[in-house]
Subunit: 611 residues, 2 copies
């Protein structure tokens, strides 16, 4: 500051639900929420990462027509905000920048060598994961994300060139520095630069996908960066589902002392506001120019402080408990997949088992009962309770329900070709899949697959049978968690005096695929407690045999589970997308070859290998 | 050199077919081919990139047990080669290195921040894409790939830390520098460093996937690098199929003057040898230490020249013509997928159409007729020629053939649920898919999907119907090319006086899905010439609307095709893998979101956007 008077700023965090590729729809979202913020007296409002394009836009980023349209949409948005009379609000939005051919090429970008087919070369121009500050109808400052995550579900080194400039904008006498998402995860990164340059506020637009217990990581992280930047960090995360990912919001604000000032609810669009009072004596001298790998530039919007106002207390919402958090993640992931793709309704097979009962309950919570169609598909091996539990589930949920016995189709096949053993079992599952897809095609429903993570892991499902569907809501939910969230959902209903949506019998009875007489999952699989524990260590944590045995798993169980998981890769490659909730979900998060002769071997061999 | 006598070296390029994950099998391959090389008097033999692990190993790279096993396999291989009496041959092999926690972190690697879940963090240790020189039972030198491709089908920034060291090994008085694959694509990269440091030979182990006409790119590229390095470049590329990729070999040797000295055949394992005579006056002074971003170290193996020998002429094999090249790529891609996965036999539906006739011919060329099972699945809409052409195809190929009419199954469904229009059409395709999967499960066949790239692009296939299968051999072959290679294969048969494998009638008749009376593809699609031209520009070249119209495509055709391509993403996500032959194949090469509202719009809007 120049003067020594404390200055105030009301900051808004608009955690909105954008849609990938919908430039105009996302721009409208920014206008709507900026208007709300303005009504609420906000001076600076921050939107999530890549607000205009949605995140992740994947290979759309490489299409020049899309990148140009994003640049255009940004300039257009600045104008429209001013036309809306919102020019006096400083708006930070994320977008896809396309800086013609400029920018340093990281070592892993493809060469510009003329002999590389130009069309295969994403280096035409330099796409940037960018954030801009809009004010008075103009694009005042542009920041290019410096740290590009390229692990787990992220492929940003495929798309973006890292930035080297750090714009700091002075608004009402308050210095506001820009960063984007991953920049906040890196010690000695942009926040270190800001700490040396001097700023009051660091804004951080994010697209940080939900993972169980991830909210436990954000607060300590943001605390350390706020201390490093010696400024208040404004962390705004997006909300909503995008294919395999769901974003939970959980936006927060932490001051330079590491105090949590405000925290937004999870899984809902929300405008979080916080009133900042900056004590000039607490902030260092301002510098600019080259600091470490970055160049700091300063932009003056307004020196005069905002008119003094009475600070309001901010909301600090506590993160949700595990089961509710998972439930809300699955509901939002499913709802956004269905609605953003313009799908009117969903259909699924109701077996009376826990998986289909749970998916039906999720679908009704996500879409309402009128958009959900359940079908009972009994076979000659189905037991009486199967159909009655399916009917019970349908009644509790009030969804559309019908029954189609599969025997006539199964018999027709068996008259034409001789099928026995697994082939005969899978036939029943595929007849169901074909019937459900027929109803999907006939009525425009999307078929929901009911496979859980335990099944997907060990391939305990029939390709084109029960694995068929356009979306698999519980694909990343292990069976033991399936039971836990089913119980939680019923308790939640009891707490609110409503009907329990999931039949207790579906929760209690031993799981069975019912593809053969008296068949139970436990005939061919270890207990789900054992199975899920091994899956968590082998799939989610990627541990090898020696480590798995150190963790105390039964060697025979480990050997069997690993073999099943390794052999099922070809099935997973053709499975429907589903919402990621775990440390590592099947899909882009875990990329293993189908053709793969590597098998984890006994530790004796590994000890040799470890030398 | 120290003295001024010309020195000689016989170099071997072993373009072998490794298998991902098969450390011991790949090591045995190195021992076998090194023995051949030794018999042939070779002093230095070069193997492809990541020889021991196979390429691409994808997320196996991140598993510590696998990385440790790779390190162990390398040391073990050096010992075994010496035990085999091959210690005097210098052997360059690729492997996965795991250098504990060392190495610079590129900007796009995940942070080591403690709050990042350690299990999700590939930064534990530093995986390297490495090449080692083995000699006298020891690992003499290790080189870590510097340039990590992270575009198209490549994700190397996800896996590896780039190297900064350049070892140069003196063997029989000849200075041999190491590089890996992408390092050769970068001007001013390692070859520039080598040019300054001084070396006689640059070895370059490669895993460069086949693409149509890619061989036209390699020679001029290697020429420029040889000139830049002022040394002879020994480019050894792997052979074989790995899931979506096929590698064509095409290994070559170019001297510092840019002369092509030797070139290997495509799509076959081969030991290419070349006799080098280095004129000491032609090479610069040697230096070492820090040069640009790299540190050059020198290793002396043997100063004394190899005993003089009579140089032999080298083979220079001309690249194949387009149709033969594509055919060989598809055959090898299919054969390796089936054999490396230990699959005994394949089954496919024979419709009498060109796609299934072509896939059957490919399968017989790849596996032999005795491992191929064809099934005719006539419906009430199949015309007489369909079954007769299918039978003709089966007879010409000598494969196992049977017929299963689908009417009884179709009727059974239609009695249970009311299906009309597309739903009724898809039902027939799914009954076929279910029958074929039943035979697959019953007899252990892998089902081959017969979809071509044109169909996959516009979604002109039935999910779980004709799209069903474990592998899709012509998934990346546009329909117009399907006809072209079918004609080529028949001509090839005529040239060798054999039976034409593909019925002329299947080639000549207008394509039809035969799911409705009198149906033809042309009822719902533009001509395949128009369709494939738009697909090549929109999918392979990623052009936007304005550019597509500039290229002279019909605006209505473009609008229709783009809509179909955009809408079919959810189907492609569940499709079987198939061999990539084009600039951009569906699969890991083109990563678009399913939930995606972006649509290419008329140029008037785009012109605005382009401003």
């Amino acid at each position: 500051m120049n003067d020594q008077q404390p200055v105030q700023l009301r900051v808004g965090l608009a955690q909105v639900d954008t849609t990938v590729g919908d430039l105009s729809g996302n721009a409208d979202l920014v206008r709507t929420w900026t208007a709300k913020a303005a009504e609420d007296g906000v001076h600076l409002v921050v939107f999530p990462e890549m607000t205009l394009t949605g995140y992740p836009a994947e290979d759309l980023v490489l299409r020049e027509s899309f990148a140009h349209a994003s640049e255009h949409a940004l300039v257009d948005l600045a104008t429209r905000l001013a036309d809306d009379g919102l020019g006096e609000v400083a708006v930070v939005v994320g977008y896809l920048a396309h800086t013609e051919g400029s920018g340093p090429a990281p070592v892993d970008q493809p060469p510009t060598d003329d002999d590389r087919p130009g069309d295969a070369n994403p280096r035409r121009g330099a796409p940037r994961n960018a954030a801009a500050l809009l004010y008075g109808g103009e694009v005042v400052a542009r920041y290019y994300k410096r740290h590009l995550p390229n692990y787990g579900v992220f492929d940003e080194a495929r798309y973006f060139v890292p930035g080297t400039e750090m714009p700091i904008v002075r608004l009402h006498g308050v210095d506001v520095a820009l960063t984007v998402c991953e920049d906040l995860w890196v010690e000695g990164g942009p926040c270190g630069v800001i700490g040396q340059a001097g700023a009051d506020v660091v804004v951080s637009p994010n697209a940080s996908p939900y993972e169980r217990a991830k909210d436990d990581l954000r607060l300590p992280l943001v605390r350390r960066r706020a201390e490093e930047a010696r400024a208040t960090v404004v962390y705004c995360n997006q909300v909503g589902g995008q294919d395999e990912l769901v974003f939970d919001g959980d936006s927060l604000v932490v001051n330079a002392a590491g105090e949590l000032l405000a925290r937004a609810p999870q899984f809902v669009e929300h405008l979080l506001t916080v009133d900042l009072t900056i004590d000039p004596s607490s902030v260092p001298e301002r510098t600019d120019g080259r600091i470490g790998p970055m160049t700091v530039t300063r932009h003056l919007l307004s020196e005069e402080p905002a008119p003094a106002f009475e600070p309001r207390p901010s909301t600090i919402v506590a993160p949700l408990d595990d089961c509710e958090e998972v439930w809300r993640a699955l509901v939002l992931g499913l709802r956004d997949f269905i609605d953003k793709n313009g799908i009117p309704s969903v259909v699924l097979g109701l077996s009376g088992g826990i998986d289909s009962a749970l998916v039906a309950a999720l679908a009704v919570d996500a879409l309402g009962a009128d958009r959900v169609y359940g079908v009972g598909l009994p076979s000659k091996w189905s037991r009486a309770h199967s159909l009655s539990d399916a009917e019970d589930s349908a009644e509790r949920l009030g969804l559309h329900y019908s029954v189609v016995p599969i025997a006539p189709m199964v018999e027709a096949y068996e008259k034409s070709v001789e099928l026995s053993g697994t082939a005969a079992e899978n036939l029943q599952a595929r007849v169901r899949g074909t019937l459900l897809m027929g109803l999907s095609n006939q009525h425009g429903h999307l078929l929901l697959a009911t496979s859980n993570k335990s099944e997907v892991a060990v391939g305990y499902s029939t390709l084109y049978g029960d694995a068929a569907g356009g979306f698999a809501p519980i694909k990343d939910v292990p069976k033991t968690l399936v039971w836990a969230i089913a119980r939680w959902r019923n308790e939640e209903a009891r707490r609110h005096g409503g009907t329990e949506p999931i039949p207790q019998n579906s929760i209690d009875k031993p799981p069975s695929a019912e593809l053969a007489p008296g068949q139970q999952d436990s005939d061919s699989l270890p207990s789900y407690e054992e199975l899920d524990a091994v899956i968590a260590d082998y799939v989610d944590r990627d541990l090898g045999m020696a480590q798995l045995l150190e963790r105390g798993h039964d060697p025979e169980v480990v050997a069997k589970v690993l073999r099943l998981v390794d052999m099922a890769e070809f099935k997973r490659r053709q499975s429907a997308p589903g919402t990621k909730i775990s440390l590592k979900a099947f899909g882009r998060d875990r990329r293993l070859p189908i053709t793969n002769r590597w098998r984890e071997t006994p530790p004796t061999v590994l000890e040799g290998a470890a030398q």
